[in-house]
Symmetry: C2
Subunit: 762 residues, 2 copies
């Protein structure tokens, strides 16, 4: 464990320690979001120490001019970035004219708590001035019932002395991006006012790239008991209300603030003020607690489809709950125009909103834990960006479509040649997700409708990107970076070649299975399909017969092959200690590469093949990508390496909670948050959804008395509970289902109980 700030509780994180060197870490961890808005766990009253104030509005971004040391032909013109939006939660606090500040002031009884079931963030502390002692209790949440709303409550109780209290809830538009040069702002104020509600409208500054500007308007309503309204805040980039009162010992006051946020993504700019007023008006009759109750009930509906319970290990429980909570706070499929950024609403690192992580790591989770519409929305997002993906391929002089490494609008905006131009396996993941959706849901309508158009264009990209090597008598793919980003520009990455061949074959087959004539309508003649099959059949896949392993790429075996235990401890992680060239030429692997491919196409390999490859590659893997441990945990479980699987589960489940990669202060690793769930469900429970249907090969990790989880599958909701010696699978919703447990065909109707004793002995 690298660094643990929060106490162990199964369904919450809380701490009574306020370490001023860890504020950014605390802020990341206590981020909240509702898929429309999100923010780091910043303090309402401000904080004068080191901190990173961050508020983000989904789908609102800015195209910054690409700046590189050495320009390469084909680089994108701009880098799209998440931009820090107006601070919605500000409540300035003064006691006898002195600003309340936890960095410089005297305080005690601090408690910060984020409820991981409903996202209620509470914070309380007792503050001392020269002449008074005052208790503050904050509460806030972002509604998932009305996602335009942020609800806040502050209780102030004077414990000693008499004190003049001033509280100023406001919206603060004076914000900067973390990576911006000093003084650079991405917003300009286009409207502000006190009536009908205090509001502030900010528009993103113009850009020369023809991407849209966004206007975001935030309006607020505030009222108080125990304090009097004392004036408006109406200054450039500021809108709000001030409240004041003199409170004696024993007296208390309560301040309530509701903020509504709309954007030109949904509402025309001219309508913004009315929209905000209407949203605030509609919420006016209900108390903070009323809103919270409705919001919590909605969360409970989500948990009913998604809860994972680990008995006997609160640390593990907290890990999985933390991850699922933050994932659902980031994305729940309501808006097809959105995707899941690597930091979600918890920071602005990595800029863009969409990575291949979505298809590779998140779609499998949403398929099981939410209705199929959620996953389908993720697929539809890519379908909508097909024209831009064609543009990306054209940038490289290639046919078809190339989905981007990083994007907001579908246009590639990453600018590192070895990634931008070469980490093209991402294009396979987009296709695989369509297959995954179809196979899991049994619903072929997406594949046969919008999906096939995406597949055809991806297949065309691969068919153009390969070359035929006369020397080798095979199709090859040179100049790629595989999932293991600790190698660049390699020839014949096994994963990439395997995935490309699969796309070509799968797309050809999918076209064949359409109604007669449809392939012709789609403009894919039979000879094009034949050529795809020929490429797939003659694709070169590096293999070493002596070792009987798939080879990561052409010259991998020539390296100085050694295990990670030969790396001195003070040189880990490698990416913080070794120069880039040394990392590249070493054998050490950042994340699953060959194994990622064997994970995707597990049915094509024997258990022996899987084991040999795992035993060859895993010991060379440093797991310095947040996406690494989970896939290895699943595979370790599959080959019976249970201890290894559990070790890797811990790493993925508590990556942020224990700050394993020492970078959580920048924000949470949102796109790897499915890892803990994959390790539990695909790993420990051994769940697979293949063409043959659903199957399980469960075991209960040592140290856990039992674990259970709920999954949806083709109209059913199943609750699976794995104990040391048996597994119970209960059908909570839907028709009886045939499935497979440890290789035995069973039917679930009501509750199925299968003993695990035989398997354990095996």
């Amino acid at each position: 464990m690298s660094e643990r700030v929060f106490d162990i509780e199964p369904y919450a994180i809380s701490t009574s320690r306020l370490d001023d060197s860890r504020i950014r870490l605390i802020e990341s961890m206590t981020s909240t979001g509702n898929a429309h808005l999100g923010m780091r766990g910043n303090f309402e009253e401000g904080y004068s120490g080191d901190s990173h104030r961050g508020t983000y509005v989904a789908g609102v971004w800015f195209p910054d001019k690409t700046r590189v040391g050495w320009w390469k032909n084909g680089y994108p013109e701009y880098f799209g970035k998440v931009i820090n939006a107006a601070n919605l939660i500000a409540i300035d606090l003064e006691l006898d004219g002195e600003r309340v500040d936890l960095f410089s002031g005297r305080h005690e009884d601090f408690l910060l708590r984020l409820d991981l079931r409903n996202g209620l963030l509470t914070r309380s502390f007792t503050y001392r001035t020269e002449s008074s002692v005052v208790r503050f209790e904050f509460a806030r949440f972002l509604s998932i019932v009305t996602p335009e709303l942020c609800l806040q409550r502050l209780r102030i109780t004077v414990l000693d002395g008499t004190v003049r209290v001033r509280a100023t809830p406001r919206i603060d538009g004076d914000v900067h991006n973390l990576d911006a040069n000093y003084g650079e702002q991405f917003w300009s104020e286009v409207g502000r006012g006190a009536a009908p509600v205090p509001h502030l409208s900010l528009r993103t500054i113009p850009n020369p790239f023809g991407t849209p500007q966004f206007t975001v308007t935030a309006g607020m309503r505030a009222d108080a008991t125990g304090l009097e309204a004392s004036g408006m805040v109406d200054a450039p980039l500021q809108a709000g209300l001030a409240f004041e009162g003199t409170l004696a010992a024993g007296a208390s006051a309560e301040l309530r603030k509701t903020t509504a946020v709309v954007t030109t993504r949904d509402v025309e700019e001219a309508e913004h003020v009315d929209a905000v007023r209407d949203l605030l008006g509609a919420s006016e009759g209900r108390t903070f607690d009323d809103h919270l109750a409705a919001h919590s009930a909605r969360w409970e509906e989500r948990w009913a489809r998604a809860q994972v319970v680990i008995e006997g290990d609160d640390e593990a429980q907290q890990g999985i709950q933390f991850n699922l909570f933050h994932l659902f706070s980031t994305y729940y499929g309501e808006d097809e125009r959105l995707n899941i950024g690597p930091k979600g609403f918890t920071g602005e690192k990595y800029g863009g909103a969409t990575y291949w992580d979505t298809e590779a790591y998140l779609v499998p989770l949403y398929l099981s834990l939410a209705s199929p519409e959620v996953s389908r929305a993720l697929l539809a997002y890519r379908r909508a960006q097909l024209p831009q993906a064609r543009h990306n391929a054209r940038q490289q002089g290639l046919a078809g479509a190339l989905y981007p490494m990083v994007t907001f609008n579908g246009i590639e905006c990453h600018n590192e040649w070895e990634i931008t131009f070469e980490e093209i396996h991402r294009n396979g993941a987009i296709a695989y997700a369509i297959h995954n959706y179809t196979r899991y849901t049994g619903d072929r309508s997406y594949l046969e409708g919008p999906g096939i158009e995406v597949l055809v264009e991806i297949a065309r990209f691969w068919a153009d990107r390969v070359h035929f090597s006369d020397h080798a008598g095979a199709y090859m793919i040179h100049g790629v970076t595989g999932p293991n980003e600790y190698e660049n520009n390699v020839a014949n990455n096994w994963y990439t070649n395997t995935l490309a061949a699969w796309v070509l074959r799968y797309t050809a087959t999918a076209l064949d299975e359409l109604r007669p004539g449809r392939a012709g309508e789609l403009g894919v003649p039979a000879d094009e399909r034949a050529r795809w099959r020929e490429i797939a059949d003659r694709m070169y896949l590096p293999y070493d017969a002596a070792l009987a392993v798939n080879v990561q790429h052409d010259t991998f075996l020539d390296k100085d092959l050694r295990h990670t235990d030969t790396i001195p401890a003070d040189e880990r992680p490698l990416n913080q200690h070794w120069s880039w060239d040394r990392i590249l030429r070493s054998c050490f692997i950042k994340q699953a590469d060959v194994l990622q491919g064997m994970y995707l196409f597990e049915e094509d390999f024997t258990a022996d093949e899987l084991r040999r490859n795992f035993e060859f590659y895993e010991p060379m893997t440093v797991h310095e990508s947040s996406l690494s441990a989970s896939i290895h945990a699943v595979l370790a479980a599959a080959i019976g390496e249970r201890e290894k699987a559990i070790e890797l589960y811990r790493r993925t489940a508590r990556l942020d909670l224990d700050n394993y990669n020492n970078d959580t202060e920048d924000g949470l690793h949102i796109t790897s948050m499915s890892g803990a769930w994959l390790a539990i469900v695909q790993g420990f429970a051994g769940m697979r959804a293949t063409d043959a249907g659903l199957s399980f090969r469960p075991f209960c990790p040592a140290g856990w008395s039992a674990f259970s989880f709920t999954v949806g599958y083709r109209g059913r909701v199943l609750e699976v509970r794995v104990e040391a010696e048996l597994v119970r699978i209960a059908l909570r919703e839907g028709e009886p289902l045939e499935l497979d447990v440890h290789g035995r065909r069973e039917v679930v109707d009501g509750e199925l109980v299968v003993s695990l004793r035989v398997q354990d002995g095996a």
Copy 2:
């Protein structure tokens, strides 16, 4: 030919056309320099159209903070760049209060001429105002006798009307770098005054990297006949004198300006004003013509050692003269602290001062055309930077010394991982230059003194950089970029592996040949030398038995191998049309790679091997590096491909004159300027200096009636004249010399004449 601006004359470039879209190109071409100072061919009176004003002071640079899109571990902290210094040549001109400006004004009879024997730059034109016609005749040169001095003369003749003339010679410190952000300046004024001479002192702004700040002081003296001194120029960043007079038709005036420049590289800042005054005082008794005569005589001394004459082809003559003139203007070995930047004093692109080009392409020329001290100064420059080269190796976690890709002070300042960390073959070129110097001069004192220290550290780098591949049973070098920069991060680049093995073997042998005990004193135990030999002996060198060629790197033959004639004309040059990944995975080669190695180690290969490799690689080579054509010309000549050799000569000789690469507006390709000489001397004359001594295999290119050149060799000066049917080798200085002509041993004492008829028939 891409674009020809100047007329064909054998020893000058001149033009009477002033095309305002080509001013930058003209300025590059008419740059002048004297190794201490240099400047582009800017117009004295200024120019309001598109232009690039550039004045550079040798050894004066600024470390700019490294800015990259994605930081890689090991990147240097700063990028050292050439900085644009104060404009020394300014003479503002007004006629009746109206500024003279060739962009906006009416003019005729324009003539611009640079004398390529002595660097005298003259420019004249007739200018029309509303009421007058005035002729201006400028002349200027940078003295190679007193390199602190810039001498200027301006003649003004009124052809019609009566006109008030105002001429203001001044020093202008308000300058910006081409690549600087708007408003950014690298200088601040630290002194200025009118007495004892108008002067301006500028200091480079502070930097956080601990590299020295420089102060440059320029002072001037000006006088006139026909105009009266009318006042001082004394404003921030400006110092000068104004002259005025009213001239009637037929009257003329002459203005003389001498500027002296000193820097803290040579003179302490407190002494600057005195030093400048003294320099100007010492020059005062002599006229412009006196200075010019002494300067020209010094140039003639250089030409007596270096002249190349091509009879019957003025275009070719102009090409070689242009190159030699600009090379000697950039560097003539007087200052061991200096080196030869890729743009010399003609532009600021590529920033740094020193590249491996020096050792690979320029040392061979200076060895022949200047005294051995000049080449030795280039070697000493690297020896002085050995501590920094050790630092560079440490940055990569490696032992020994790694000479930088780009530098001023020896610290690497390039920041593109595939070059910075991987184009390490440069380290071999530094070692090879020591060998080359020793072999050419027969002087072992450099090798045995400072040279061996450099060699040992380079050998240690290679010994640490290789790895032993158990799989292949050989030493390998993974993760390199060879001379062909159109491939990156390859495994076992044949050139790099060959050079590394050579360094290890050469250094071990050189140590063995030192006096007994010396190797021990140098701290190189016998087992270290044994290990170097073992690595060299077991170095893996990719070779294809079927094709019987050396293989560029491990997976090169798997590419889609095709000839450059399959590239559509509108896609050339590739680097302006193809995305980087497409260039990388194509087979097309930017510049000699395997062939560069065979060029360096020609004696190790049979003529057949050379031919087979040339015929395999040259047709895949696009020659998009300015360093490519020359090496190929030499090799083409060596294998008897004379037409190819001549075609490649033209390309290298007139690269800038005909703007082949469409980038000469940025400055001249100084470090490739030896190419034309190499093509003539090593190519057409087939000169080699090996351990066996000097040899020639001459032929006279079709279209030339004869060519001749002078080379120095071990105390002799030889003049070689190659005609269609015979070669004459005359001993101009020194003892008789045994040499080899077309394989026959001959002795030169007086003049040797050898018939070429037999060889031609062969």
